[in-house]
């Protein structure tokens, strides 16, 4: 309860700050500008004087253009100092100088006055894009504060079951209706990736867990980021040594960072060699998704120009859980089932003739199906491990979706009906 009060207070303060800032910006900046553009009336004015107004902030001066004008509304003369509707100061004096250069004393120009308060007039109209971007700051405070308050209110006093029930109604379950003859399978991941990709010899091509190109890209960015920052300090340290006044603390301090950077470069080169030097590994299967006890044909195709010490295919089932410890979220994986499906040793692969092997796969009859919830998972997968002569070894994973026994029984009838 105390936690909820604290949360509500925190988000409430956020919301109030955002609302106050939003209202102030609207009243002082947005509305005057909008009114000047949409509601002010045009008339002729005479420039009496131009100047640059200065104001001092904590550590610098800011400027704004001031133009003194005289104009007549309904037979009455008005004199005012103005420029645009928002009258804000900015740090560049040259901006203000350029602004007043457009107006010469004694000459006539068009100005726009407020019909409800003719004392107020502007010489320049238009919309300031920066001002609208600035509105994003209070808007983000309102979004965080308001969203947080709604979240807190949602959790306040409602049982976990009621919240879960409402969430379930709000989000339609994305389940295996098509492949399972219309039977929804809550918390079983969808095999949509494999369904959209047909195999060359068998019905389905299994999707790979992580695309090598993406993996390489992520490592490249990490490598660039880490070594880019580290190199700045390396240059400083080297310069100090070249000047004859070595910075020993800096030198010793950056050594571990340099070692990590070198490790990243090694890892990047290794992945580059694997991605470019080892051809794609394809796994195709005759049925998908799979049921415990069901037999399916599996085809492995390994391309490339490789001298293989060994090629292994393993069927595995992992439990993967995540839990919060303080402010960290930790993930733990436990392999509960592992079976070597295939092992081939000492052979060569030619680019013109990829290695192929087809065999049968059976998921254990009493096994658990694939399961996924926000913090817990049961993951089935095929793991291909290659030991390549004179080249980095590779490991590629292919997720499998295993559905509960009997789920697919109605599928042929349903497909026929369609």
């Amino acid at each position: 309860m105390l936690g909820s009060v604290g949360e509500a207070l925190f988000f409430g303060i956020f919301l109030c700050m955002g609302l106050v800032a939003f209202v102030v910006m609207m009243v002082l900046l947005v509305v005057p500008e909008w009114r000047a553009n949409r509601q002010f009336s045009a008339t002729q004015c005479t420039v009496l004087a131009t100047s640059i107004a200065e104001s001092e902030t904590d550590d610098s001066k800011v400027y704004r253009p001031d133009v003194k004008i005289e104009y007549t509304v309904a037979g009455r003369k008005y004199v005012t100092t103005t420029y645009d509707a928002v009258r804000v100061y900015s740090s560049g004096r040259h901006h203000a100088e350029r602004a007043i250069e457009k107006f010469q004393v004694g000459k006539q120009y068009v100005c726009w006055y407020d019909p409800f308060n003719p004392d107020q007039a502007v010489l320049v109209r238009g919309y300031n894009a920066w001002m609208y971007l600035l509105l994003l700051v209070p808007a983000s405070f309102i979004a965080i504060g308001g969203g947080g308050l709604i979240y807190t209110a949602w959790h306040w006093g409602a049982s976990a079951e009621r919240r879960a029930s409402l969430s379930k109604q709000a989000a339609k379950l994305d389940v295996l209706r098509e492949k399972t003859g219309g039977t929804p399978l809550p918390n079983v991941p969808s095999p949509v990736d494999a369904h959209s990709s047909e195999g060359t010899r068998l019905a389905y091509r299994l999707p790979i867990a992580t695309t090598p190109g993406w993996q390489l890209f992520v490592i490249f960015i990490m490598c660039l980021f880490w070594n880019g920052i580290t190199s700045v300090f390396v240059v400083l340290a080297v310069q100090s040594h070249l000047r004859g006044r070595p910075e020993w603390f800096l030198t010793l301090f950056i050594i571990p960072f340099v070692l990590v950077g070198l490790g990243l470069i090694y890892f990047l080169l290794r992945e580059l060699l694997i991605t470019t030097g080892i051809g794609p590994t394809r796994l195709e299967c005759s049925h998908y998704p799979l049921e415990p006890g069901q037999e399916c044909e599996l085809l492995l195709i390994q391309a490339g120009r490789l001298s293989m010490n060994s090629l292994i295919v393993e069927l595995a089932c992992d439990e993967q859980v995540s839990y919060r410890q303080g402010t960290d979220t930790r993930t733990e994986t436990k392999r509960v089932f592992s079976q070597n499906l295939f092992r081939h040793e000492g052979f060569a692969i030619d680019p013109a003739a990829p290695f192929e092997h087809q065999w049968s796969l059976v998921i254990p009859e009493l096994a658990m199906h694939s399961f996924k919830s926000p913090n817990n998972e049961v993951k089935w997968k095929l793991v291909v491990e290659g030991d390549v002569a004179n080249w980095p070894n590779f490991r590629r994973e292919y997720p499998l979706i295993v559905v509960p026994t009997g789920t697919l029984a109605d599928a042929p009838a349903a497909e026929a009906a369609r």
Partner: protein, 134 residues
């Protein structure tokens, strides 16, 4: 022995159900002199146990708000429920993860702490992981 404040009874003696089976039963909030009820929530749900943070999935949910503010007579009687069980997730006893199904009755009194009663059951016939994974 103190009587249980909430009784949950499933129609079947065998607590093992298969996907698509109908789960039916009733619950009763045992009346006492000073018990004034605001509402009762009935849920048929699964939840996870083990090393990971708990996840929960509600398959069936019903909330009963009292219409009789004087003596709760509408809630202090056996209330029946029934629902057809889903195809997944099946009950599971893994190594660092367990999935358990249960019927949960949560009682909101007008004064004082909530009362809770649970009746576990199994969905499906997946044996403990050690039996099929070796």
């Amino acid at each position: 022995m103190t009587p249980r404040p909430i009784e949950v009874l499933l129609d079947r003696d065998d607590p093992v159900y298969q996907p698509g089976d109908e789960l039916a039963g009733q619950f009763l909030v045992v009346p006492t002199d000073d018990l004034a009820l605001k509402a009762i929530e009935l849920s048929v749900l699964w939840h996870t146990e083990g090393k990971g943070d708990e996840d929960i999935g509600v398959h069936f949910f019903e909330r009963y708000d009292t219409q009789d503010n004087d003596n709760n007579s509408d809630l202090l009687r056996p209330i029946r429920f029934q629902t057809r069980l889903p195809a997944s997730p099946l009950s599971y006893e893994g190594s660092i993860l367990k999935i358990k199904w249960l019927v949960r009755v949560r009682v909101y009194p007008k004064r004082g702490e909530q009362l809770l009663a649970e009746e576990p059951f199994r969905l499906g016939g997946v044996p403990p992981v050690a039996d099929w994974a070796g």
